[in-house]
Amino acid sequence: MLKLEQVSKTFYPNTGNEKRAMDHLDLLVNTGEFVTVIGSNGAGKSTLFNLIAGSILPDSGRILLDNEDITFLPEHKRASRIGRIFQDPMRGTAPSMTVEENLALSYLRGKKHRFGFGISKKEREFFREQLAQLELGLEDRMQTPIGMLSGGQRQAVSLLMCTMVTPKLLLLDEHTAALDPATAEKVLSITKRIVEENHITTLMITHNIRSALELGNRTIMMDDGRILLDFCGAEREKMTVSDLMDRFSKACSKQIDNDRMLLEHQSR
């Protein structure tokens, strides 16, 4: 269970570039929920992920994971519980190390003792099994430096690395945006399977409204550092892409109208 209480973050405070990226945000994600996050650029989606993963610290508010306060826990310590995949396929893997070395590294998350030499036969067999499930033929390329693989393959391996030791929370930050449509579809279906099999609590940012509705069981829409819309269950099931677009533009235009009113008011 992930809980954010009144979390705020302002970038460049007290300067002309001041930007309120997160505005007293409250969010409760129950265990096993798969939430898709949508919103325009600059809405605060990535900031939300950065706050949860610990890449940036909030100005105020609390972040709890399974009732443990992780607000100020260092990034690498949270990483043992939170898996995160970025849009850039290059970010999740170490290019000059082999596929199996990358997997071995991420597999360390589950181990208390980090001793011993090399990769054991048992581990290698396990990695091979896991890679085979991706159906990309990577199980026969375990000795290949991962930098030689394509972006889609690297992203699939990153996904495996994040979930091989089941995390309490999985953050997917537009992880298919840099891939071609066919590969994106493939990576999405792998994502869906892994998340469902392991019942991983997941947050996924996407710009694809269709996959935002197809995947997962709850959708939130962010704007200006706040949650604008939040729906699940029957309401979400009935929702079509055009409905959502309507709701989005309505919500946004209300915002735009407000801005316009403000501007007019100021100019008066």
């Binding site: 990034e75 170490a94 070395e101 071995a104 998350r109 690395m161």
Partner: protein
């Protein structure tokens, strides 16, 4: 041609300096950090070894040198990771501080000889004979250090050290403390460098406060020469090939310098020769690329002419 004597002593020196190159392999290649601490920690190792030898503990002195080097590496890593000082600057700060510290260790003398004392080489010489002492002992210690390095980099922790130089954000998101891996790496690297300095002090029978100057550049030149040489035989860059490249490169570098001296270059021009070697070795990949590009271009050109210029657009 080079005399047998200068050939053999070049190889001996190459073997000892390859410990230093091994350290640079760890910091420069594995961790991807340009670590300038080396200039200071090399001398530190020599100073500590000499002082310990003077008090009658030559072998213990080697271990003390290793520890001192590791401490120097720790300081650089601390400045880099916790104080957020740029890697190059952090190294320069430690190096500068070490100059004074080295003088303090050597009791404010710029040059401390140990000609009267029994060095590790003379002690070892009584076992294997005077002729072979330099070669055998240096080789032995190099093999030990090289094996330790390979084994270390194969452990899970070593794996995280390698990944830190490769993709730091991935290391952090694999729940590994990247500050810790950097610190361990820099400590190990400078321990190797200090051991090399200590061995050189024993080999030359003295420590000199300026003996470490330019060591980073020499180390880089050696390693890159080694990489090119090993690259001819082994295509895939791995841990083992890196360690071998460090040893091979160091020996090749000493042979080049010995040859330059044979050709009656004065020893005052050695730094110039070193700089030229480094510049050439470092630009080798770029030179290869531009040659390849030039070839492709001229190929494409001649191809186009054959097609009657139809492909021009």
């Amino acid at each position: 041609m080079m005399s047998l004597y200068s050939f053999l002593s070049a190889i001996e020196l190459g073997l000892i300096y390859s410990l230093m190159v091994l350290g640079l392999f760890l910091s420069y290649r594995v961790l991807n950090i340009p670590d300038l601490t080396v200039d200071g920690s090399f001398t530190l190792g020599a100073a500590v070894a000499v002082v310990m030898t003077l008090s009658g503990h030559p072998i213990l002195g080697l271990f003390a040198a290793i520890l001192a080097g590791a401490a120097a590496g720790f300081l650089t890593a601390f400045l880099q990771t916790k104080m957020k000082i740029q890697p190059i600057l952090a190294g320069i700060i430690t190096m500068t501080a070490l100059y004074s510290i080295n003088l303090m260790v050597m009791d404010d003398k710029a040059n401390v000889p140990i000609t009267q004392q029994e060095s590790i080489y003379t002690a070892f010489g009584s076992l294997v004979g005077k002729q072979a002492q330099g070669m055998v002992l240096s080789l032995l210690i190099l093999i030990l250090a090289g094996a330790a390095m390979v084994l270390f980099l194969k452990t899970p922790f070593g794996l995280s050290v390698r990944a830190t130089g490769d993709n730091e954000s991935m290391v952090r998101s694999s729940s590994i403390n990247a500050d810790l891996t950097k610190t361990a790496g820099l400590m190990g690297a400078n321990a190797c460098v200090a051991l090399s300095g200590a061995m050189i002090a024993h080999y030359n029978c003295y420590a000199e406060v300026r003996m470490g100057i330019g060591m980073v550049v020499i180390g880089l030149a050696s390693f890159i020469i080694g990489e090119i040489a090993v690259g001819i035989f082994v295509k895939r860059k791995g841990v083992l090939s890196g360690v071998v490249a460090a040893a091979v490169g160091s020996i090749l570098y000493r042979l080049i310098i010995a040859q330059a001296l044979e050709l009656n270059f004065s020893s005052s021009s050695l730094k110039l020769i070193t700089a030229i070697i480094v510049a050439l070795a470092m630009s080798y990949p770029a030179i290869c690329d531009s040659i390849a590009l030039f070839r492709k271009k001229s190929q494409a050109k001649s191809g186009k002419e054959k097609m009657g210029g139809n492909l021009s657009c």
